[in-house]
């Protein structure tokens, strides 16, 4: 033993692994679609190539193709193609556990031994001589956390340990070892070997150089044939390592193979490395290794006794530590995250050229309250999401009935079964299915309505609902009135007008619709959006709360209830549109909903927001229309019968039941605002006997 100490031990640079995303993607789908709970080992294929860069080693790489294909996609996916010079295949085995605990509990040492045994047996049987790639056999253990898209794994490249270790007699660049003639011939022979599709991916070979400097590359199995004549014989291998003083890992098992198969003590090895696709002898190495006699003898003993297996090493370290690696692919696999980045794309593209001033942050942070989750509510919610609005609350007390899904675009038959889900919750579920990142909330609640007698035992509940509605309005930025009755819009209108929230109303007739934004309430504007709004505030104060006046001295824009009173008298607008809500031409609701949302986007992008003046199509006030989103009308009325649409303005009425000064600014009135008594009182002012039975659709039709 003492003799060996003077000579350095031959040290091998460990193999390094690299796993392509595609491998984990396919493993995940394999696990989900085919394997299920089955955790039996899976044969896989790794790929490597000779190092081709003086600073970087080549990795043993796993790709999607490393895994067996799923039966259903066999036709479309090519199997591993042999003969690719940059993808020499190495056989491997994958143990994918079902749990993280299982992963950590794996007896790594015995698994490594089992794989080393396979290498040893293939050497013993001569199989390795035929198919040398077996010498680079590897092992992968993993746990695929498919819920978090993270993968824990550990590689092993089992190497048979020579004891005592081989020592190094000589190691130098191949260009120094060979004569010039030899080097030329070696390069040519190697290039031929690498360029022939039958040998390009055969990673171990014999390099024989005859006395006339002619080099030949042969298969390992031709060793016997190379024993005649005066020639240099080197054992070559594709060296994934780039280091100038160390051969790569595959040489370890090659030496064990040579030592036990041919009982050689002194061996010349050739670390084949490349540059630009050609043999680079300045980069390649030639070395001479010495394996001690006792070692050979021991191996020979082992040879006779196949039960004896040399000990093995080879677990890959993680930055120098024996710790499993973990890779997270949530960014590229989590459908929610993918949906978010994809959803933003269209909007960002709009900003790019058509609408550079589009404020995506304002849209995504605006909290929208949708009162009513029917035909209009469904459609408005979808349009809001399309514009990048992410915070949506839906309020509805109804359940999804069989007649709903055809027109109410968020529901399907499933939502109608077993008595039907609540519309609000079914709509939220559906919104999340469309876009998982939406922050949608469902509130199952009836909107307190004037004119609907409240039995005394329900009084408390209705009062509670009033309070809840007020809280909801307080906590949102924009409110959509999308219910199918006129009276259900009253209380929200009053509350919004008091808090100066953005309100948008959409109402449908049989073939005509009204979409409008409510003007600011008579009170001071509390929610200050910008300095200009502040100016409005102070101006308003200076004017002594002249409730009908706007900052420009113009009239305040009306709400749904004012405009009804002051609307121009014509045959269309004379009708109370909402009365016929559920009997409408099917195209009407999507048109009105889309306009309602576009109106909101307009308001959010207008410097004066809720106080913005009404603008008209073909407006002569051209300076104002220069907003990138175009004009901001107060009301849009449309008729499908005429295929026409017009923009109108209706100013606030001082006798409006919902937004007039007295209704809002008188302290006693406000105090009673959520009170049932007041509700009941005001209810009496409605002459019509409203019917809230939505199943009696036909009764609503006004002829």
């Amino acid at each position: 033993m003492a003799g060996h100490e003077s000579r350095p031990v031959l040290q091998f640079a460990p193999f390094q692994s690299s796993v392509d995303e595609g491998f984990w993607h396919r493993l995940s789908s394999l696990k989900l679609n085919k394997l299920g709970i089955d955790d039996s080992p899976i044969p896989i294929t790794g790929f490597y190539a000779p190092s081709a860069h003086p600073q970087v080693s080549n990795y043993l790489t796993l790709l999607a193709e490393s895994l067996p294909t799923e039966p259903c996609e066999q036709s479309s996916v090519a199997t591993v193609i042999r003969g690719n010079r940059n993808r020499c295949s190495a056989p491997g085995i994958l143990y994918n556990t079902n749990t993280l605990e299982g992963f950590h509990a794996i007896d790594k040492q015995s698994l490594l031994k089992a794989e080393a045994k396979k290498v040893w047996e293939s050497i013993h049987s001569g199989e390795a001589e035929e198919d040398s790639a077996i010498l680079s056999r590897f092992l992968l253990i993993s746990f695929a956390d498919l819920k978090k898209w993270s993968f824990h794994y550990c590689f092993a490249f089992p190497a048979l340990v020579l004891d005592p270790p081989a020592t190094l007699l000589d190691l130098r660049p191949a260009s120094q070892y060979f004569s010039i003639q030899e080097a030329e011939s070696v390069s040519a022979a190697c290039n031929d070997w690498r360029n022939s599709s039958s040998t390009a991916d055969v990673p171990f070979f014999l390099l024989s150089i005859s006395s006339n400097s002619h080099a030949t590359v042969r298969h390992l199995k031709d060793w016997e044939a190379c024993q005649h004549g005066e020639q240099k014989l080197l054992f070559g291998f594709y060296d994934p390592c780039h280091l100038p003083n160390n051969p790569g890992w595959p040489l370890r098992n090659l030496l064990a193979f040579i030592c036990s198969r041919w009982k050689l003590e002194k061996v010349h090895f050739f670390c084949y490395r490349e540059n630009r696709g050609f043999a680079d002898l300045g980069f390649s190495l030639v070395g001479e290794a010495l394996m001690s006699v006792p070692q050979v003898e021991r191996l020979m003993k082992g040879w006779e006794d196949p039960q004896h297996i040399p000990s093995a090493v080879g677990w890959e370290l993680n930055r120098g530590k024996k710790v499993p690696r973990c890779i997270s692919l949530a960014k590229s696999m989590d459908p929610t995250r993918l949906a978010i980045s994809a959803a933003d794309l269209n909007l960002k593209l709009m900003r790019w050229r058509a609408l550079p001033s589009l404020d995506l942050n304002v849209l995504s942070s605006t909290k929208c309250l949708l009162l009513g989750a029917g035909t209009l509510g469904c459609q408005v919610a979808r349009m809001l999401m399309a514009w990048g609005v992410r915070k949506i609350t839906l309020v509805d007390s109804g359940k999804v009935s069989m007649s709903n899904p055809l027109r109410q675009s968020l529901y399907t038959l499933d939502d109608c079964l077993n008595g039907g889900d609540f519309k609000a919750s079914a709509a939220v579920k559906s919104l999340k299915r469309i876009f998982p990142a939406v922050e949608a909330e469902a509130v199952v609640m009836a909107i307190p309505m004037p004119g609907h007698p409240v039995p005394s035992h329900e009084e408390k509940g209705v009062l509670e609902d009033c309070r809840r509605l007020n809280d909801l309005i307080e906590s949102h930025d924009a409110v959509f009135l999308l219910t199918d009755t006129r009276e259900s819009r009253w209380l929200p209108t009053v509350l919004c007008s008091n808090t100066n929230k953005i309100v948008i109303t959409a109402a449908l007739g049989f073939d005509s619709f009204l979409v409008m934004r409510h003007g600011a309430g008579p009170g001071p504007i509390n929610a200050v959006h910008d300095s200009e709004a502040k100016a409005v505030d102070s101006l308003r104060a200076a004017m002594g709360k002249s409730s009908l006046m706007d900052r420009d001295g113009g009239k305040r824009l009306g709400c749904y209830f004012c405009s009804d009173v002051v609307a121009p008298v014509d045959s269309t607008s004379n009708r109370t549109l909402d009365q016929q809500c559920t009997v409408t031409r099917p195209g009407l609701a999507p048109i009105a909903s889309a306009l309602a949302v576009e109106l909101l986007v307009g308001i959010l992008h207008h410097p004066q927001r809720i106080c913005a003046k009404a603008e008209f199509s073909n407006s002569t006030d051209i300076g104002r229309t220069e907003q990138p989103l175009g004009i901001l009308p107060h009301q849009v009325r449309g008729s499908l019968a005429q295929f026409s649409q017009m923009t109108l303005v209706g100013h606030s009425s001082d006798s409006c039941t919902a937004c007039c000064c007295t209704a809002i600014n008188q302290p006693t009135y406000l105090e009673d605002l959520t009170g049932l008594t007041e509700l009941m009182k005001s209810a009496s002012s409605f002459e019509v006997d409203w019917d809230d039975d939505i199943n009696n659709d036909a009764d609503f039709l006004e002829i």
Binding site: V9, L10, Q11, F12, A13, P14, Q16, S17, S18, V19, D20, E21, G22, F23, W24, H25, Q55, V56, Y59, S76, V77, A78, H104, K108, Q109, V161, L162, P165, A166, L243, N246, R252, R276, G277, S311, A312, V313, W315, N318, R319, G320, K321, K322, V323, P324, R325, C326, I327, S328, L329, K331, S332, L338, S341, A342, L345, K348, L349, W352, R353
Partner: protein, 237 residues
């Protein structure tokens, strides 16, 4: 679209490319790249399994350059979410500890690898650059990681030019998210690029040089420079 006659008057050209011209241009580009950039990885044509809506005679595929690497300038240990936990006592093995035939390597510098694909977009009729980056163990880098690595000139381009819009989109063949430069401005600036070229003005647009010119622009965004000689050699065609 560049016609089959290989050249077309630049004034009437709309800056796009047909699928067959794309393939022709791609192979010319790969050849030129090999000639002038032999030191860096080479482009290769990846053949994709035929898809039902594409005529059988058309070989479907894309150009691919794999494993280009940029040595990192920053020293940072935990980039890209590679987590290192406590060493497991259970897996310690006497053999491995004492086996002095294992070279103990230093893990000082982490190399990042880049893959580039040039894919034909049949809606815009232009080539599109898809790319991704990952640590040596395969952990993908995020866009902000990538942006930190790109040379300062790229960052300047990203800021100043409107067409250099990096988004994450599904790779049309791999069905996995890759980063891409959106193609909607490509035909316009290609038209500008060719209109300013005196030789093109004289001889017409040559399909072969489309990709070389195109890449001379988009390559800069991701830190891949096109040698000037490559451009010159092409215009001399």
């Amino acid at each position: 679209m560049v016609s089959d006659q290989a050249t077309v008057d630049v004034s009437s050209w709309n800056g796009t490319l047909s699928l067959s011209d794309f393939r022709e241009s791609a192979s010319a580009f790969a050849e030129k790249w090999k000639e002038f950039n032999s030191a860096v990885p080479q482009w290769s044509w990846v053949v994709c399994p035929p898809r039902p809506w594409i005529a059988a005679r058309d070989v479907d595929g894309y150009l691919s350059l794999k494993n280009a690497f940029l040595p990192r300038y920053k020293e940072e240990d935990n980039i890209g979410g590679c987590q290192i936990g406590e060493e497991e006592p259970s897996c310690s093995d006497v053999n491995e500890r004492t086996d002095n035939a294992i070279l103990v390597r230093s893990y000082g510098h982490e190399v990042h690898f880049y893959d580039f694909h040039v894919v034909y977009n049949s809606s815009y009729r232009v080539p599109v650059l898809y790319f991704r980056a990952y640590c040596s163990d395969g952990q993908p880098l995020t866009l902000s990681d990538i942006k930190e690595e790109l040379p300062a000139s790229s960052m300047k381009m990203l800021k100043e030019c409107k067409w250099t819009f990096i988004t994450e989109e599904e790779h049309p063949y791999l069905n996995r998210p890759w980063y891409t430069l959106h193609p909607c401005g490509t035909s316009e600036w290609m038209k500008l690029l060719f209109a300013n070229d005196a030789l093109v003005a004289k001889d017409g647009v040559v399909a072969e040089q489309y990709l070389v010119s195109w890449f001379s622009v988009v390559g800069q965004v991701v830190g891949l420079k096109t040698p000037l000689e490559m451009l010159h050699s092409c215009t001399r065609l």
